[in-house]
């Protein structure tokens, strides 16, 4: 048993917020795999010159695995994956996705779950909520958004969750006082954050300053690869040299050259693509390597990290 990709068909597309579209993905033959709350899949988009591969959280109820749903926020300044999903994908199209993987699972033994979502960061919590309900867990959702672009599913959430749902539309001047929110929680509460980096950093900082144990703070920190300076990479085993342009990640260039590198998140979190560096300095942009490992300079996470200089030699 080894599953690498799953073919799915887009059976519905819905605008769930001004800048967010929801895609329903049904299996092409066979059944979809069950998944756990917080799981994501990597969607491969057949773009030119090379495919986009983006990770998206599954937002359906894990108990209903007849189809998967994902939501994509249009990112005007990104490298094009979300624009491709918005402009080039139509109902009836086939896409290939990876099996679900989970790097953001709830801590089931928590006494209380405090979910903090920012914008499209609501998506992983959409799969948490039905399971938290089934388990009779104690939880609250705090959802921060801008109604002119995000805020998907908020009416539905308000309706089903009632007083456990707290909405903050920044454009209506509703602010979430993180200090009060985090200071007010019973012992044994775990906080989960998914949203922009600033929100993750903000909650993390406040929680730390209030003495929350690190083990009770969870966040989904996929960093989509950001552009950088172009560099050259030499593959020591084959002697091949490749050019990594400013807009491509090292992983994408390797894949374009048919060099297989295992990967799950494509966002510097899962650790699967760790590759040995033989020479050259690395600009580390991942969340995976420890400070000591960065110091040693013997590894790179090619999904997000780049050469600090003009050239790298890696053990591939």
């Amino acid at each position: 048993m080894s599953i690498d990709t799953i073919q799915v068909r887009v059976t519905a597309i819905a605008e769930v917020a001004p800048a967010i579209r929801e895609f329903t993905l049904a299996p092409v033959g066979g059944e979809l795999l069950p998944f756990s709350p917080g799981s994501h899949v990597v969607v491969e988009m057949p773009a030119e010159p090379r495919p986009h591969r983006n990770a998206y959280s599954l937002l359906s109820d894990p108990r209903e695995s007849g189809s998967y749903r994902i939501a994509v926020r249009r990112q005007e300044t990104s490298r094009g994956g979300s624009i491709y999903m918005h402009e080039s994908v139509a109902v009836g199209d086939e896409l290939s996705i990876t099996p679900p993987a989970n790097l953001f699972s709830p801590a089931w033994s928590a006494r209380k779950h405090l979910l903090v979502a920012g914008g499209v960061g609501i998506t992983p919590f959409m799969s948490y909520l039905p399971e938290l309900e089934r388990r009779g867990a104690n939880f609250e959702l705090h959802y921060l958004y801008r109604s002119s672009s995000t805020g998907a599913y908020r009416e539905q959430l308000e309706q089903t969750l009632g007083e456990r749902c707290f909405l903050y539309d920044s454009e209506a001047g509703n602010r979430c006082e993180l200090g009060t929110l985090l200071a007010d929680q019973p012992r044994g509460t775990h906080v989960y954050i998914c949203g922009p980096e600033t929100l993750i950093a903000g909650v993390h900082e406040v929680a730390q300053s209030l003495g929350w144990p690190e083990s009770h703070i969870h966040y989904e920190a996929f960093a989509a690869p950001q552009p950088g300076n172009p560099f050259e990479v030499e593959l020591a085993r084959s002697g091949v040299t490749l050019n990594v342009d400013a807009d491509s990640s090292l992983l994408e260039v390797l894949e374009g050259a048919q060099v297989q590198v295992p990967n799950l998140c494509r966002g510097g979190v899962c650790g699967q693509c760790q590759t040995r560096v033989l020479s050259g300095d690395v600009e580390h942009r991942d969340e995976f390597l420890s400070a000591a490992e960065r110091e040693q300079g013997e590894s790179i996470m090619p999904c997000v990290s780049r050469a600090a200089g003009k050239r790298l030699v890696i053990d591939l």
């Binding site: 048993m1 080894s2 599953i3 795999l33 069950p34 998944f35 756990s36 917080g38 799981s39 894990p62 108990r63 099996p99 679900p100 993987a101 989970n102 699972s105 801590a107 089931w108 033994s109 399971e131 388990r135 690190e214 083990s215 969870h218 799950l264 899962c270 650790g271 699967q272 995976f288």
Partner: protein
């Protein structure tokens, strides 16, 4: 060769357990080199593996199925705490039920059948004469708690590891044939806690690397490794709880009976990501072979001698072999021409 289950033999008292020539031929001999090397010997558990081998299917069933299930029943009767599941692991237990039932009914259709109508499942185990209908996910519809229900139908020990904060926690398990570790003692512990006593590996950074790797195991790509020790008599249950029953066995080894008494005990460990709970299922399938049976394969006999002879002192002690290790080396030397 595929192995049909044979009538019940015992792993205690009169020790009637024996391996047929077919079972010897498929024994997972764990030493790839003449010298024993400590390493993270993890590899993908790609199935189907070679036909008839212990690697053919995700979960291996062999001629000892009925004997091991009988033994499990005896152990659980003596000590119900050999099966534990914390409340938050209920979904993970159902993941295990699904994995075992799906695998068994696909891989061994002559013995097992699963029919599903939505969440209404019917499971038939012809080897144990069981037929049960239940609602998937609803533990109140099973005759036993979910972990015990399925654990009594599958060979090997099982642990379900909850994954949180980049660590794994031993929060559920059914453990009746351990190589000297206790589920009740380790329950709730983190990965590094329960590996605490293993010598040498900490210095080598093995556990840090292994933990990162295990946490990233994706659904549908299980991995496996072999572990080994020696056991006196064909005793499955060598747990700390029953130490008074077997601790003194070590003193019963003599130069005359070493080949018959001492068994190589190999664990085929498989780690498989559970889809609904994100837990890791850790199965520890134990194979026992007497040295007498092992040396019927001349290559194994020679290598076993070399490995035993070069085993570091720390490991001899950790594995509890000190008392009879010299006798094992001496007895095996007759099969090694280089000696």
């Amino acid at each position: 060769m595929r192995m049909a289950p044979k009538p019940i033999q015992s792993f205690r008292d009169d020790f009637t357990y024996s391996n047929s020539p077919g079972a010897i031929a498929r024994f997972p001999f764990p030493f790839p080199e003449d010298e024993y090397m400590y390493s993270v010997n993890i590899e993908p558990h790609v199935t189907p593996g070679p036909e008839g081998s212990v690697y053919e299917h995700l979960l291996d069933i062999d001629e000892h199925y009925l004997s091991e299930m009988h033994e499990r029943g005896l152990v659980l009767e003596e000590n119900p705490k050999r099966c534990l599941a914390m409340p938050h692991m209920d979904l993970a237990c159902w993941d295990m039920i699904e994995r075992v039932m799906e695998s068994f009914s696909n891989d061994y259709p002559e013995y097992f059948a699963l029919t599903k109508e939505g969440d209404n499942w019917t499971w038939e185990n012809k080897l144990l004469n069981l037929k049960d209908s239940f609602v998937f996910g609803d533990s109140s519809t099973l005759p036993l708690p979910p972990m015990e229900y399925i654990g009594r139908q599958v060979q090997g020990d099982f642990a379900l590891l909850d994954q949180r904060d980049g660590d794994l926690f031993l929060d559920a398990g059914i453990v009746t044939c351990p190589a000297d570790w206790s589920l009740a003692f380790d329950a709730g512990m983190s990965f590094k806690d329960w590996h605490g006593p293993v010598p040498m590996a900490h210095e080598m950074g093995i556990f840090d690397r292994a933990l990162k790797y295990l946490c990233a195991i994706p659904q549908g790509r299980p991995v496996r490794r072999l572990n080994w020790t020696l056991t006196v008599n064909a005793r499955m249950d060598t747990s700390p709880e029953t130490y008074p029953m077997w601790g003194t066995d070590r003193a019963s080894v003599t130069p005359e009976n070493v080949g018959e008494k001492v068994h190589l005990r190999v664990e085929l460990q498989v780690l498989d990501r559970m889809p609904r709970s994100n837990a890791l299922m850790f199965s520890i399938r134990t194979y026992l072979i007497s040295l007498e049976d092992l040396v019927t394969n001349p290559e194994w006999a020679k290598r076993m001698h070399r490995v035993m002879k070069s085993l570091p002192e720390q490991l001899i002690e950790y594995k509890g072999l000190s008392r009879y290790h010299p006798m094992v080396v001496e007895w095996l030397s007759q099969f090694d021409p280089a000696n």
